[in-house]
């Protein structure tokens, strides 16, 4: 009987268990999440249910103004004509006839429109494989949090202009706004992300015997996934099978190969006086530990689109399908789609990306239904910022520049779908007034570009998701240090 290669890795790993775990114990002098599990796994019983949060980061700044569009002619609110008047001349307006209608109870049952790329499209090869996410609105499986963004505390336009309330640092800068969406605070730089901090708090109680970390990124190292004691698993998308995604190649059953593998593992417990060597070894330790856990997997049943975001979400779906094997009850995932930084060529550029997003998210939702966990898995979006209502350039190459408040999607069986959520703007609804130099514009004067001031903060949005996930009220201010600045910590878009 031939022993499979992975068995060797497993066995050699066990033989070296103590040495290989050295960096884990060394890591900031604490037991890391992975090391904690070694102590705890036999004692604690896992809670019976499963819940997962899937963060989709729309990298580059998705233009919310062309994602959720007024599709009504109500005279008291920004209507389609107001939208079209500001964007049509330069070629950035989406035609009203193309909008995918959604009825919004919160807006007196007025009709709004989704970008046409979020619905059913002509099937095309391996990239358009379903009807998109539009249908989920009517099924109450999708909600939109409107006019949300980075804030230190609520602020009116007057307060923004006078500077009497502290502004988020470096508004309109990609790197800083991404970092604030991911860290969950806008008053200061943070070494950790809100996903990571939730994981710091919940790993031990929720995943006492988990074989992989609570957080998995399918898109590399991200601030969102970093905690003080949490290091994420980060793996390639479904283009690589789970069984080989972390597998060191080139080892076989021969004695010399096994000795080499032992040495490969042992080297990581040495020379840890250098922080760089220690951290590199720590990450590799995590990879080798997870590799053993991922030896086998079952393929998903739904067809995913053959796109980057499709393959990322497919890999997430594989891991969720394997949750029992991995002894894991709570999971947070990070995937990314981009680039939405459409300074130019926005109609085609954003359109194509929204198609990819919609197709992949719908496939993922359908797969969760197939797996029987659609009520246990919630998908949500983040993005750097929205974009200026006033277009940049004109004609075929028209685009838009960096702005602020945006509309964010929440999708899943546990969502109170089919509605807008968020704090009301100056017009008495949660959807902003689409007027440059108007009541919701951070810009002023004749050159104002339409950068809406958020009325709902990233923290409120995140805290609502975290509460559903199981973060206690006591832990809320620990994970979201500025949450007390906001009147509501739960926006109500999740079922209990």
């Amino acid at each position: 009987m031939t022993q499979n290669r992975r068995e060797f890795i497993k066995k050699s790993g066990c033989a070296l268990g103590i040495a290989a775990l050295a960096t884990q114990f060394e890591h900031f002098g604490l037991m890391s999440a992975m090391a904690q599990k070694v102590d705890a796994q036999d004692e604690l019983n896992a809670p019976g249910d499963y819940r997962a949060l899937v963060c989709i980061f729309m990298q580059g700044g998705n233009d919310g103004n062309n994602t959720i569009i007024p599709n009504h002619s109500d005279a008291n609110l920004s209507n389609y004509s107001a939208y079209s008047a500001a964007r049509n001349t330069q070629g950035l307006a989406v035609a009203q006839s193309a909008l995918l209608p959604i009825t919004v109870p919160k807006m007196n049952n007025l009709t709004y429109g989704l970008n046409p790329n979020l619905g059913a499209l002509t099937p095309s090869g391996a990239t358009i494989v379903n009807n998109g996410i539009h249908e989920l609105w009517a099924q109450n499986r999708m909600a939109v949090v409107t006019n949300a963004g980075t804030l230190v505390a609520p602020m009116t336009r007057a307060q923004y202009q006078s500077g009497s309330i502290k502004r988020p640092f470096q508004l309109f800068s990609h790197s800083d706004q991404v970092s604030q969406y991911q860290s969950g605070r806008s008053d200061a730089f943070s070494f950790t992300g809100w996903g990571g901090r939730i994981s710091d708090r919940r790993t031990l109680p929720d995943n006492p015997g988990g074989l992989i970390p609570m957080i998995t990124s399918i898109n590399g190292a991200q601030l969102f996934t970093a905690g003080q004691t949490t290091l994420p698993l980060a793996i390639a998308n479904a283009g690589t099978s789970l069984s080989s995604v972390l597998n060191p190649q080139g080892f076989n059953s021969s004695a010399e190969s096994q000795t080499r593998l032992s040495a490969f593992n042992q080297l990581r417990s040495q020379d840890l006086n250098s922080n760089y060597i220690k951290e590199a070894s720590h990450i590799t330790d995590q990879a080798i530990a997870a590799n053993s856990a991922l030896a086998t997997f079952q393929e998903v049943t739904v067809v995913f689109p053959n796109t980057s975001i499709g393959s990322q979400l497919k890999q997430v779906a594989r891991l969720i399908k394997k949750r029992g094997d991995l002894s894991i009850n709570r999971q947070i995932f990070y995937v990314q789609v981009g680039s939405f930084d459409t300074h130019n060529n926005q109609i085609n550029g954003q359109g194509g990306l929204l198609t990819q997003f919609s197709q992949a998210v719908r496939a993922f939702y359908d797969e969760m239904v197939m797996q029987g966990v659609s009520n246990n898995v919630t998908t949500f979006t983040l993005s750097d910022f929205s974009r200026t209502f006033n277009p940049a350039g004109s004609g075929a190459s028209v685009g838009s520049d960096h702005a602020w408040a945006n509309h964010l999607f929440v999708i899943g069986g546990a969502v109170n779908g089919g509605n807008f959520y968020g704090t009301n703007t100056s017009n008495g609804t949660p959807y902003p007034t689409l007027v440059m130099n108007g009541p919701d514009d951070a810009d002023s004067g004749s050159n104002a570009r339409g950068r809406w001031i958020p009325t709902t903060s990233v923290e409120q949005y995140a805290a609502t998701l975290a509460a559903w996930y199981g973060l206690s009220a006591a832990d809320m201010p620990v994970v979201f240090p500025n949450i007390a600045n906001f009147p509501t910590t739960n926006l109500g878009f999740m079922q209990p």
């Binding site: 890591h27 900031f28 002098g29 890391s32 580059g60 330069q90 640092f169 470096q170 508004l171 309109f172 990609h174 790197s175 800083d176 070494f191 990571g196 990124s217 590399g220 190292a221 970093a226 905690g227 994420p232 698993l233 980060a234 793996i235 390639a236 995604v245 060191p248 190649q249 080139g250 010399e256 000795t259 080499r260 042992q266 080297l267 990581r268 040495q270 020379d271 006086n273 250098s274 922080n275 760089y276 060597i277 951290e279 590199a280 990450i283 590799t284 995590q286 990879a287 981009g338 930084d341 300074h343 130019n344 277009p391 940049a392 350039g393 004109s394 685009g399 520049d401 960096h402 050159n447």
Partner: protein
């Protein structure tokens, strides 16, 4: 405090040579690269720190320090340069709970009547901010680092010993009481550069990887002469690929998949880049141009044709030893950059902010006001001070309006090609599309062109605006720190940044922005030089491109079966490690210079692309090149492999495996391989039959090159 180099040379060669040296600095002999290792003084009978309160300089045993108060440690075995002060030192502190802190160093002064002893004033307060402030109770282990060297660790105890936890000493820690007198003596310079560890380290910093040939050459001529040669070396060694400009849209009736690969992807440019990295003679220029390409990022993801990127790369390499102001100008008007950051379509009626924002944030001054040593300036409330506002971005946006691709017939646009956009000639101005309103730009003390008058020519304004940026005080520390991070170490001391920024501000002849002088100063700085560095935060993770070229060059990279050169087709085995050459995912590069390792406060840019997934990809890259090769294929005319014969000969010559592993220690680890590591690798080597010299060699190289110890360039 002495400036060691002149004193040394004075002693050896006398005054006549010293004068000569000032006139022809490149002919100078290279001094001993090793700085002395600092020693923190302890009490005579223990490893407890000799410490006093800042108010009373006499050493006291009292340990009642209030949190946030000052304390004085005593350090010796230093050799300070003129102006080398507090910001050259860092004090690392480990608490009983294993948490790492850093206490700010406020001052360093020689102690009266105690030659060679310095009083180091610190504030008892963590400056990293990763953990909450430590309770000053119990035992802390303290060490000082200077020029990449860590001192011994001493105990700093608050309150009663044993309360609040006790931290274990390093193995072998001994008391370091006040020495009778300083014993350090300078060694005379030898002919040539005999410091083998530092030779390898230098080549890792200045090239795409050491080779035996280069190592021997530097041994013979020294660092300074080699640098002088490199500054004059013709570039490129292999000509850029000669590629035509192609139409934006692919005509699939004419252009098949091979044609797409050759004209509509980065494939030809990547292969040229790696051939030049493997075999080119102008290594330093190629290396600096690559570093600049990760600062002034243009990505092939948007700029799809190699022919569109070549002019951009030429601008980078041309200016790599030139003046930063010229680089700014060439990059601003470069058509690939113009397309990537949208300046090419920004007009007065439809302005686009993209280039205006990034030229400030990423390429020159950064977001916050800096001190000249690269540390943040803080306002009265302790907050960083923004360098500019959205309004500034709006004004720069107006400055950069009106430029288009060079599509005029005739001599203005010599490379214009009918039917294809002109990505070879610099952009040209259409004054009608230029916004001629008056503008307000960056303001700073003695600001150059803080306001721009109305109704001027767009090119005049562009130069005024670039001067406004170029003379901003942030540019020197911003660019200096970035280049140090790229070449030497991720988290340089402020003193190091400050020394380089001073050279950026003035190259010695009154010229600002001289990159040749900056690169030279970075590589010859005492924080860069030395045979071994021991500071826990010294060095950098090798980015995938450097990791790959270093290993390949160390083992005489060749064609798949040997006997010829590699064709440079290696990006496909490098890309899975997280760096697809010339295809950065965004203008923020593959990783950010400010990246901090999750779960730590360690600044480490390249860790931005080190994950569980890519760390295994790194091991698998080593597996491919050590146990296999890139075979000949339609993409790889000659293929790529490494030549193991030299190492195999050592393996054959010594059945214990020691000579093999020692050679790898010298080549890959610049002699710094720990005894533990050597023993582990030897065990694996000895598990292979001594007659199987190939497998022994492969085993040893794989283990060394895939180790974290090698992945970190230290």
């Amino acid at each position: 405090m002495n400036n060691r180099k002149p004193r040394l040379l004075w002693q050896i060669f006398g005054a006549g040579f010293f004068t000569f040296l000032l006139v022809f600095p490149i002919l100078a002999q290279d001094p001993n690269p090793d700085s002395p290792t600092p020693i923190l003084l302890s009490e005579p009978d223990s490893t407890r720190a000799l410490v006093s309160s800042a108010e009373n300089l006499s050493a006291v045993k009292g340990r009642a320090f209030a949190s946030n108060s000052k304390a004085v440690l005593f350090v010796t075995n230093l050799d300070l340069m003129e102006d080398e002060g507090a910001n050259a030192f860092r004090v690392n502190v480990e608490g009983a709970n294993g948490r790492q802190y850093r206490f700010p160093v406020l001052d360093i002064q020689p102690v009266k009547n105690q030659e060679g002893i310095y009083a180091l004033t610190i504030r008892l307060k963590d400056e990293l901010g990763f953990w909450e402030q430590p309770l000053l109770k119990g035992d802390f282990l303290v060490s000082v680092v200077w020029r990449g060297l860590a001192s011994n660790r001493v105990h700093l105890t608050f309150g009663k010993v044993g309360k609040g936890g006790f931290v274990k000493d390093n193995v072998g820690a001994v008391p370091t009481p006040l020495p009778k007198k300083s014993t350090r003596e300078f060694e005379p310079d030898a002919v040539g550069y005999l410091y083998s560890g530092d030779r390898i380290r230098f080549l890792e910093q200045a090239t795409f990887g050491p080779t035996s040939e280069l190592d021997q050459r530097i041994r013979r001529i020294g660092l300074r002469t080699w640098l002088a040669e490199q500054f004059e070396a013709p570039y490129p060694t292999n000509p850029y690929p000669n590629l035509p400009l192609m139409p934006t849209n692919i005509d699939r009736n004419v252009c098949n998949s091979i044609c797409i690969r050759d004209f509509y992807t980065m494939y030809p440019l990547q292969n040229w880049f790696y051939q030049e990295a493997f075999y080119g003679d102008a290594q330093l220029r190629h290396r600096v141009a690559w570093a600049l390409s990760e600062l002034w990022v243009v990505s092939g993801e948007d700029t799809q044709q190699s022919s569109w990127m070549i002019d951009y790369h030429q601008d980078l390499s041309k200016n790599a030893f030139g003046n930063y102001r010229n680089l700014m100008y060439d990059m601003t008007l470069n058509p690939a950059m113009g397309n990537y950051l949208d300046m090419v379509r920004s007009t007065k009626n439809s302005p686009n902010e993209n280039f205006a924002r990034e030229v400030l944030q990423l390429f020159s001054v950064g977001l916050f006001m800096l001190n000249q040593d690269g540390t943040l300036q803080l306002d009265a409330n302790g907050n960083p001070i923004p360098t500019y506002s959205q309004n500034t971005v709006n004004n720069f946006t107006q400055i950069f309006t009106g430029w288009t691709l060079c599509e005029v017939t005739g001599a203005t646009c010599p490379n214009r090609t009918a039917g294809a956009p002109n990505y070879k000639d610099p952009m040209i101005l259409n004054q009608n599309n230029h916004d001629v309103t008056a503008k307000t730009l960056l303001n700073y003390p003695n600001a150059v062109n803080p306001t721009i008058a109305a109704n001027q020519n767009g090119l005049t304004e562009l130069n005024q605006a670039l001067d406004n940026i170029f003379y901003h005080p942030n540019v020197a520390p911003f660019v200096s720190r970035y280049l140090i991070q790229q070449m030497v170490t991720s988290d340089p001391t402020p003193a190091y940044v400050g020394r380089i920024a001073a050279v950026f501000n003035n190259n010695g002849s009154g010229v600002r922005g001289d990159l040749k002088a900056v690169v030279r100063a970075i590589l010859l700085d005492p924080e860069a030089r030395g045979n071994v560095k021991t500071d826990p935060n010294y060095g950098k993770l090798r980015e995938p491109v450097q990791l790959a070229t270093n290993v390949l060059r160390q083992f005489d990279v060749q064609s798949a079966t040997g006997g010829a050169q590699s064709d440079g087709y290696v990006n496909q085995i490098i890309s899975p490690m997280g760096q697809n050459t010339f295809n950065s995912p965004t203008v923020f590069n593959y990783y950010s210079p400010d990246y901090v390792i999750p779960g730590t406060a360690v600044n480490a840019p390249e860790f931005g692309i080190l994950t569980t997934g890519t760390t295994i990809a790194r091991a698998n890259f080593m597996n491919t090149i050590v146990f296999s090769r890139v075979n000949v294929s339609s993409f790889a005319p000659t293929g790529t492999s490494i030549n193991l014969s030299e190492m195999q000969a050592l393996s054959a010559a010594d059945a214990t495996g020691n000579r093999l592993v020692d050679a790898l220690n010298t080549k890959l680890m610049h002699g710094a391989m720990s005894a533990q590591m050597k023993s582990t690798i030897l065990t694996a080597v000895q598990a292979v039959a001594s007659t199987n010299t190939l497998l022994r060699t492969q085993t040893a190289i794989y283990l060394t090159a895939s180790s974290s110890q090698y992945q970190v360039q230290r």
